[in-house]
């Protein structure tokens, strides 16, 4: 009842308010939809799209498909190391030349790795150059702390 009376008395301003609201809502919806659909997708899919178009692309010194550092010997590492395991296993590790050599030897003895031939030296040089051992000591300083306000 109340509503009907309200409508009768205010038909004109009411309809213009409706029209205005509709325009505003449509515009807002458009913006929200745009934000939801365009922005995150664009940022998220940039890397994968680039990988899809050029799997061997190198950006900021990083080989996008594998995550390996670009440098002489990287191709040999991809060829010999990544058929069985991901490059992520390589990238995590730090060893000196003797360490890498014994790791390769262990994989040949027990994990079906083939003879690397002349590439073995190239691979070891790449790994020790791009992923050098650094001294950490008995306890490192806490790193990469993401600070946030805590309400308890």
């Amino acid at each position: 009842m109340k509503n009907q009376q309200f409508k009768k008395r205010n038909t004109r301003p009411y309809s213009s308010i409706m029209l205005l609201s509709a325009i505003v809502i449509t515009a807002l919806l458009g913006i929200v939809t745009y934000l939801m659909m365009e922005t995150p997708e664009e940022t998220e899919s940039t890397v994968s799209t680039e990988i899809a178009t050029d799997p061997e692309r190198i950006e900021d010194g990083i080989h996008l498909r594998t995550g390996l550092k670009a440098g002489e010997g990287m191709d040999a590492v991809i060829r010999h190391c990544t058929p069985c395991h991901s490059a992520k296993l390589v990238i995590q590790n730090r060893m000196d030349a003797a360490g890498w050599e014994s790791t390769i030897h262990w994989m040949q003895e027990t994990q079906n790795l083939w003879d690397l031939g002349d590439d073995q030296e190239v691979v070891i040089q790449y790994l020790t150059r791009e992923y050098p051992v650094s001294t950490k000591g008995r306890r490192q300083v806490l790193k990469d702390i993401e600070w946030y306000s805590l309400e308890q």
Binding site: C84, H85, S86, K88, L89, Q92, N93, R94, M95, G99, T103, T110, Q111, N112, V133, T135, K136, G137, R138, R139, Q140, L142, I145, E146, W147, Y148, S149, L150, Q152
Partner: protein
Amino acid sequence: MNRRGFLSRTTLAALSAAIGAEVFYGAEIPSGYQLIIEQDPDLFSLYHKDRDMVLLNDRPINIEAKAHLLDDHVTPEQFMFVRNNGKVPGELDAGSWSLLINGESVRQARSFTLEELKEQFTHHTYHLTLECGGNGRSEFDPPAKGNQWTVGAVSCAKWTGVRLRDVLREVGLKEDAVYIGYHAADIHLSGDPRKEVISRGIPIAKALQQETLLAFEMNGKPIPIIHGFPLRLVAGGWPASVSGKWLKGISVRNKVHDGPKMESPSYRVPCRPVAPGTEVSAEDMCIIESMPIKSLITNPRSGAILEAGKNLRIKGHAWAGELEVDKVSYSIDFGATWQDCTLDKPLNRLGWQQFKAIVDFPGKGYFEIWARATDSRGISQPMVLPGWNPKGYLNNACHRIAVKVA
């Protein structure tokens, strides 16, 4: 196997479970065809892992939690670490699954279907702490080879199954039995079907403990694929690598089991302490058994900024391998002084225990909260790295979180 050359209904069911959705035209998939999601899967959705979990390696799959993700008393699937040595088996059919018990020290080899195990033996449920032997490896100096786990390769879920000892007694052991070794369905990274990926084991005394299970449920549901569906050996308190996933066989041995990853240096540490970086010969390396005393502050997340004058509630878990945790203390002054935390009893032996405390700060500034647990034999966690070992196992140094009072 299937005359029409399409996927069987059970394979399809396993596939749907893995993807988390039904494959609509599943019946039309020719056998041998790999769905796009299988060829290039989003591992997090495929295996129901939280997006904040850390992917260390995707081939083989190795994923760890962060300390604050492990706040639950019972670790849910999405926060449970994954340590794989090989590829996840493709065909996992609970209906046709069987377990073969054999080896020199059984009276007669015998096979049980999963259904027979469930029907013939009493079910038991335990909360069991499983920690990767290499948890904390990333801190060692000189660095140790392998996945660089930080703190999150530990879990304590609720496992349900039958006791291994009930099954072994039914089969009958010879008097010379000293060890058991497991055999599993995972696939070698090289794809070589003749190569066993990992086949570790435990001494017979550990195998006969009441909490050592042939488990078929985790947290009240069938074990998730990535954690060993449909059958897993679960032996809490020891390096999680003895808890073989996708279990197909148990060999009862009259000597220390000699499967892959039992040999030095895998899951072994120097029998006597060595200086960092020392080369240790195989005969001087000893198999890791019970895991050492350890604790983790799971709340708050490191990096909290507090208002001055407010106190801080902290909580977390502590565990001690075969032993119980007797005490947990915390320090806000890098170990100069320690205060006691409140510590709960475990829900059962080999389950982790909860600690909590209310921390007061003397003023504004940067603080670190260190937690240190002590086991029932009076052994505490070290504040710095424990003894160096070639493979970077057993790092049980105190866990720390950073706090600012502003």
